[in-house]
Symmetry: D2
Subunit: 412 residues, 4 copies
């Protein structure tokens, strides 16, 4: 039988910024026998997860759940509301924003990519990868689009490649200030259920998300949260769509079913994840992540290494990027840490390749797991001969010992 | 925690023609912790399942594995090799062939739908839904396509809605006889790993399949087996594609990885399924299904009810459709059987709604499970007041007692 | 990894009279991570299962749960209340009654074994193995024990080797009628949670039970339900006891803990089993078993084979023993059925070796599973050349189609 | 369903010296369906685990596997070879040695308890609880036993209550030097499969062990490894025994079966554990534990707290006891750590109650898990206002970064 035992004894520390560690309860739930996706028992499950996921997105409107991983949901968002040749305004916060742009281009869309152009001595080639979306740049561009050719503004809420959580409400205000009719489309694949997110209140038209981050599931299902405006746009859009088409899904979802075979066993996991998250309370979930992030950043600061996110107002509660000193190959460091301490960290992606690594602090985790991650990195830094200015482990421990969460942190 | 306990005590009999019952070993495998899809352990897993799935398709060429359910793989097959407005020749063997056509239309393709037009007294409105693909109709149409506007011929290998397994080699011969360059694209979602299938030998360009049938997995991953001709066509094709694009997948698969997050835990299950199927031997797997199908058909014949498939040469080894007497609502019968005996049967789809039901005999099953299914149907027929001409259970038992498989049936 | 795949495809039919099939929910529960048996979370679990198991025994008094299988609980019952050389009156209903006697002898007790001495043409060497406990024989023996040397009366409630469920209330009345102070000790290892059982109402002093029958758990934990009289006797008893000693267990159980390491993961399963049984309702559980037993006996009658239990008033709802025709080796038949149909039946034990086999119909089962069992036996009988007088499968189907349970059968 | 979610998010750190964390593979194995313990598939399993467990004990002789937890195996060892009133010489290394003595007394044996009587300023009331077995005391006592009334010498190999691993070979030499025929009986419940152990080479007659420590299983099965001398003694011994009797077990084990129902699902786990341990190699397993123990002791030394074991030559590789400063309630500290950091530590037992706590470092663990444990304790010490002399976390990290194991550490 499958053993997955390349690694040494004990539990692997999966500290990439997703897939995040899947709780034991969820792993058991997804191992229950597959049922008939057209039978009455499934309908009950379907209605339950559809109601629950709306609570997580904080929306009253439909959420399409795809039996596909997150990249598919990116495609779905674009394919449902746009037509060949349409222009979308995107914003380069990092690698995933860039990938979404490339995907839009492959679909035959015209893309414009905004980026912050200021100076960054640390990463002069990628200054906008250290900051959040600058809503004023979006507002300015939309004001100049007097022909209203821009059909959608696409931004990433929590940029997984950098550890920056942009202000989505500000983007909404910018669009409104410009009086522009473009749709607001947001990727919150790694933000949902870890960072505060409010689909309806923030006036988002389509939010894209996935299962393997804050929802604590294995990868394999993904989401489009919709708005009435997005649903209306979908009726006119002419990009070919079939598997991704919202119309059939929304119609069938009324009874808890899907137009084609859903990913039954991952929906079992979703049911369990929703039970866990809603029992804990979303605000508590967000506070828990903020507290963890504070501890990890304290460690990085103690080491004297730059945090990838240069703007403290948009630090991500989900992950922290760490820039390695010039000349140090961050991937060689990651490899050493993996081999010696069975700890997986995120790699530097795209423009950041080899220059940084990412520490995930999301989902089903706790203080000691994060201290262990910090310790694994610190031992690796030492073994790699990288000088640090102090003990990150001590800083993290001081943080976790000094700060508590309200008692409601307990799962029930 | 998720209970899935609407049904009474004991194990549910999931006898729809897919999702098929998932073996206990596979359910445990998919519950193992999710790993880093960019780490070294994953690469080993990836290379293993990619090699194994090629053996199941009987191909030397790449197989794209999608983190998406089967309908997605239908779309992928078309989107990779065709351009907007291209014409595809499809063949109406039943509901799924029709759905594939609808999907092609939504993607902006021109579709032609061939169908057998003979008389069928039992189902005069759907004669072609009782027979396999008539290769001569395809050959004639291709011969008449002197401008070679038809870019692809799309057929369903095992039509899940009817229980008919078409002769794919004959379709290949028909295309060759017509000297036509069209691609041959085959849906073997419910045929693969249950019915004999030979991607390379039969000259198929794209075979579409899914996880939840003969592969004995939960739904959620799907496949495109390719040919060099299909790969070449993909370079010219202009339908928008990104998530489904083969090029990036094939390139990344060289090292056992995928361009975006794969469905890690279902790949664990695929690894286990491949171990089981290849240890048993594919020819043994096929013989096992043929033997089971014979027993179930013996039961239907004993009842005196018509089998949906009117041509014994193309009886499916995967499922058997049963036509209910005129005036009998097959879905009311199914509901009664489900409520009383915790047995799920397949519904009549599309043109067959209410006129028939489907008995699955595929995947991880055995003689007694199939006798139980027959018994559940037989009790249901009696309770519904439907007259039968004899004991189907006795016929099935006689069949199973009289026929054995070689000793190699044992799993190891 | 462990594969357990000697058998062919599909789910094995485990139709021995215990271990019974373990529900999927319970198997997942026992796979949850082991916790500290001295920590606060464990105490909550402990109190829950201790309260629940009392409901199943229908007792207000303590129930000792052993991290040991059922034979250990037999020993525990005797060792706690008796002294070396004490006399116990036992009653030979079958193999397990005999084994309990042998165990008592090994512990240094004097045993007297009562048995019905009437004629039985079918099994002249074991007439008492076809009937229940004759309470009048016990009463007579106790009346003659004017010195009150008999310290305990030991009877088996549901004799797993024969399929006879004795009337325990009648034994209580017999003891009372004789005015004898002996303790009443009952083995209900295979009766509890399948057949009606009332520890307090029937005045039982010690009831012995196990996990792997009606409780639907794997083997490995077992039970002693106690009475105040038994607890008082334990204070005077002089057989050596340590692991089995009730005193420490009862004392520690007050807070949900045990004096030594309990079988944590099987207690997870017990928690789940109690949730299931109490949600269904014990009376419903008993009715379900009675209905199943009726169907299986109808099949045996149709075959024209004698049922091991010769007295219909004490037919077991848990299992049915079937006597094979003279000259037929029942074990050869069982082996044939196992090899051909992956169906496990119970063997003839002790005096019944080779003369009968046992069909279990207990725990997590349903109509179709039992029809499948009957069909497997029927095919085996035919293949073995054993003549039958009719179709057992038809008889079972007729029974199950004709009889329903109240809607409350559904699990929730 | 059972949730076990009193604790907050993430994985609990179970760092008591057993039950140790159960590997994911083993948890899945024990969740496989229960099979017939009299069927052919079980026999194969039985023979496999019986062969494997002998390798772990390093013995050529029978090993009895009990469906009972470790305390039962203590009782079994005594009950099989001794007669009422026999004298056994025991040695007080700590709480478990004392409990074994109490158990022997309850069984009706005469016990003599040796203990080191030197001065210990730290724990004047329990000096022998800080040291290993002093073989010379045993030798002297046996020399004085000219009547050879002592039938057995009972010692604990790895004293779980203190973290002391005694030299068993030295005890053997002492018995031999005294020319005394007493049996040598050893409790290695927490030593086996973590600390070097050699049943045959060291001339042990009965070794007692359990599942929930180095074997990495849940509690519930236990062991008696035997010697020919022990088997011979069992024939004469007169303590009552039935469930524990070796004779029936050894006889039935010849074919892979047991005389009564074994703990099937825990044997699945044993099969998996044996695969894991023997693939890694026992010497590698021992080296791994020694390395871990070194890191944890380095942390305790850095704190400036006394290690419970005062003799470095017998430091346990399995756990480390830590004495808290006078006036500090070690259990209050443990509770604080549990509540704040979801970390379970071992309590001070018996004479050590409130004076120390125990850190487990055994079984399925790794460097980062142990650093996390150390960090949790260190944060707890700080929060409790307990002064330390330095950073234990830093010391542990330095140890783990400086020391590696040979590459063979990888599981396969």
């Amino acid at each position: 039988m499958l053993q997955l035992n390349q690694h040494p004894t004990g539990r692997h520390f999966l500290q990439i910024p997703g897939p995040s560690p899947v709780p034991d309860r969820i792993l058991r739930a997804i191992s229950l026998p597959t049922i008939d996706h057209r039978g009455p028992e499934f309908g009950v499950l379907g209605l339950k997860v559809l109601a629950g996921i709306r609570q997580v997105f904080k929306t009253q409107h439909p959420v399409a759940i795809y039996p596909a991983s997150g990249t598919g949901a990116w495609e779905a968002a674009l394919a449902n509301v746009l037509s060949p040749g349409d222009t979308v305004l995107m914003y380069e916060t990092g690698h995933f924003a860039s990938l979404w742009q490339k995907l839009a281009q492959r679909l035959g869309l015209q893309t414009e990519l905004l980026a912050w152009q200021g100076d960054d001595p640390e990463l002069p080639h990628a200054p906008s990868w250290r900051r959040g979306v600058q809503a004023d740049l979006i507002e300015a561009r939309l004001r100049s689009d007097t022909a209203q050719r821009i059909r959608a503004v696409c931004v990433v809420h929590n940029e997984t490649s950098t550890g920056v959580t942009s202000d989505i409400a500000a983007v909404r205000r910018a669009i409104d200030a410009a009086g522009h009719p473009a749709l607001l489309m947001v990727d919150s694949i790694s933000g949902l259920a870890s960072a505060d997110y409010r689909h309806d209140e923030w006036g988002v038209d389509v939010t894209v998300s996935g299962s393997q981050k804050g929802l604590m599931l294995p990868p394999g299902i993904s989401f489009n949260a919709l708005s009435p405006k997005a649903l209306a746009a979908a009726k006119e859009a002419r990009l070919p769509k079939a598997f991704w088409a919202w119309d059939d899904i929304v119609a069938m979802n009324a009874d808890g079913y899907w137009p084609y075979t859903p990913s039954t066993n991952l929906l079992y996991g979703l049911s369990e994840a929703l039970d866990m998250l809603l029992a804990e309370g979303l605000e508590q979930v967000f506070a828990r992540h903020q507290r963890w992030a504070g501890g990890v950043r304290a460690a990085v600061s103690a080491w004297g290494l730059p945090i990838q996110c240069a703007d403290p107002s948009v630090y991500s509660p989900v992950l922290t990027g760490v820039i390695t000193p010039p000349g140090v190959d961050a991937d060689a460091l990651r490899k050493l840490i993996h081999q010696r301490f069975d700890l997986s960290l995120g790699t530097g992606l795209g423009k950041l390749k080899g220059r940084m690594f990412r520490m995930g602090h999301l989902g089903d985790s706790n203080d000691l797991t994060l201290v262990a991650m910090v310790a694994g990195v610190e031992m690796g830094l030492k073994l790699a001969g990288i000088k640090t200015t102090g003990s990150g482990v001590q800083a993290a421990m001081d943080h976790f010992a000094a700060h508590t969460l309200p008692a409601a942190t307990a799962k029930d």
